[in-house]
Symmetry: C2
Subunit: 257 residues, 2 copies
DNA sequence: CGATACATTGAGGTTTATCAATTTGTGTGG
DNA sequence: CCACACAAATTGATAAACCTCAATGTATCG
């Protein structure tokens, strides 16, 4: 029933997570981090974590706060330890494309060279580990697993973006929303979240900007998916998967029978 | 005027390139490769190239030949040395999304884990260097620059796919075609091709499948761009940029004045 | 030179966007 | 804790962009 819990309850959970991470038990605070096993940090042994801890700075962002803007010099890269961040690109007339949502354990700044190639804003309250690029490069040089892990991350991000291209180029609004719900559901699991009542931390506008649709179309499509008894919107930011198979078929581009 | 040359002339050029690469001067045939400086191979010194040469196999694909299918076990990765390859994903009803065109110097298989996440087919005749993944991993372990270079490639591929998401999610048909022409024009330069009469090795269907459009819309949009005096279709597979600034503005999402 | 695939153009339909009004949710201060 | 103000979501009517189907024209290759 975690999906039905109130917003204050969610806030409390976030606060506990952050505290646990700051206390630390085994020498380095990193050892006690909530995302220790999912993040790139898992490439390092417990006794190597000190190196990581020495070069990182923790930071907290309020919802809607800007982390960086496209085109800025990319001096830092980030590891999300809690909350949700959105990455996006803008066209001069304001059209927006959200290129990804980043959750606890995700690494931000992989695709960036000298300057950030997209902007980043907090969707919810966000906790981050911040690394100077130069220092992290040094660490990657020292611990080769870390470098391998970064390449692995980049590979899997590439796989995700290819799926997103298929979605944006060829899927209908219904298929896009279905794919989106499944993606959120799947990504919640490694971070310790529930996979069935799915938590939707982002606004309808953000969802539209991620799926190449308008808010209105997103809203209408939620309604149609409820009529089809595929999902059910429990609360403002929570949604239950009612018929998993139908949802999967929709997302994969099969016609519903 | 290279863009106006006949198809047989193009074939001849391709054949010469392949021969030059096979002859080799400085010990390793790789040293004489046409893509020596642009490909990942540039991470290795001339005297390290022997290691690369020892583990690669050269291969030639006819136009439209299948290199691999999505879902296949990814035993090999590839370096394109000549020609054009398309990567794509399919939906069960046949909808296709081309996720990328690969040209001389491009590395294929970066995004793949155990199985290929997309299919690959030759657009033109294609020349490849093929590597067993396990052997290449060994080489990457021995020569660290190689590993770094792979990460760099992955980074720049990620940047490209983010731009493609903006295109697919938010750009109009005209803006998509304009962006496409500029991309082809820019990518032709490092490979030694001409940047102005732009060579279009792929069919209108392929272009549509890359840009999330139908062939008909692609064709109509070419016509409109010609009426606007932005481009001019010289021959079947060649196109001149008439007004570079207009083209750039269109691609970037500015309104034409 | 003819057969076949590919590109172009037209007519009409569908999906999604746009504009507008209303309802619902959220956060704040009394 | 409730009332208010503001932002977000929903729903409807209409329009635009692109797709589909169909016909014609034009390369390409044996």
């Amino acid at each position: 029933m975690s999906g039905l819990k109130s917003i204050p309850a969610q806030r409390a959970r976030r606060a506990r997570t952050v505290n646990a991470q700051l206390q630390g038990r085994a020498g380095s605070p990193c050892a006690a981090c909530a995302v220790r096993q999912v993040a790139v940090c898992s490439a390092l042994d417990d006794d190597e974590l000190g190196d990581l801890d020495a070069i990182l700075q923790r930071r907290q962002l309020a919802a809607n706060a800007v982390l960086f803007d496209e085109g800025e010099v990319a001096t830092q890269v980030y590891n999300v330890t809690d909350g949700c961040l959105k990455l996006f690109k803008l066209l001069p007339d304001g059209r927006k494309q959200v290129t990804g949502f980043m959750f606890a354990g995700d690494f931000v700044g992989l695709a960036d060279s000298e300057t950030y190639i997209c902007s980043a804003e907090a969707v919810t309250e966000v906790a981050l580990c911040c690394f100077d690029r130069s220092k992290l490069d040094g660490l990657a040089h020292k611990h080769r697993n870390f470098e391998k892990r970064l390449l692995g991350r980049a590979r899997s991000e590439l796989a995700d973006t290819q799926n997103q291209m298929l979605l944006l180029g060829r899927k209908s609004a219904e298929e896009r929303l279905a794919s989106f719900v499944l993606m959120l559901s799947e990504r919640a699991v490694p971070g310790g979240g529930a996979d069935n009542p799915v938590n939707l931390p982002m606004s309808g506008k953000d969802i539209g900007d991620y799926l190449g649709l308008t808010t209105e179309t997103v809203s209408r499509t939620w309604s149609r998916l409820q009529t089809l008894k595929v999902i059910k919107k429990d609360a403002a930011r929570s949604l239950s998967i009612v018929d998993f198979e139908k949802l999967q078929n929709l997302a994969d581009g099969f016609k519903l029978i």
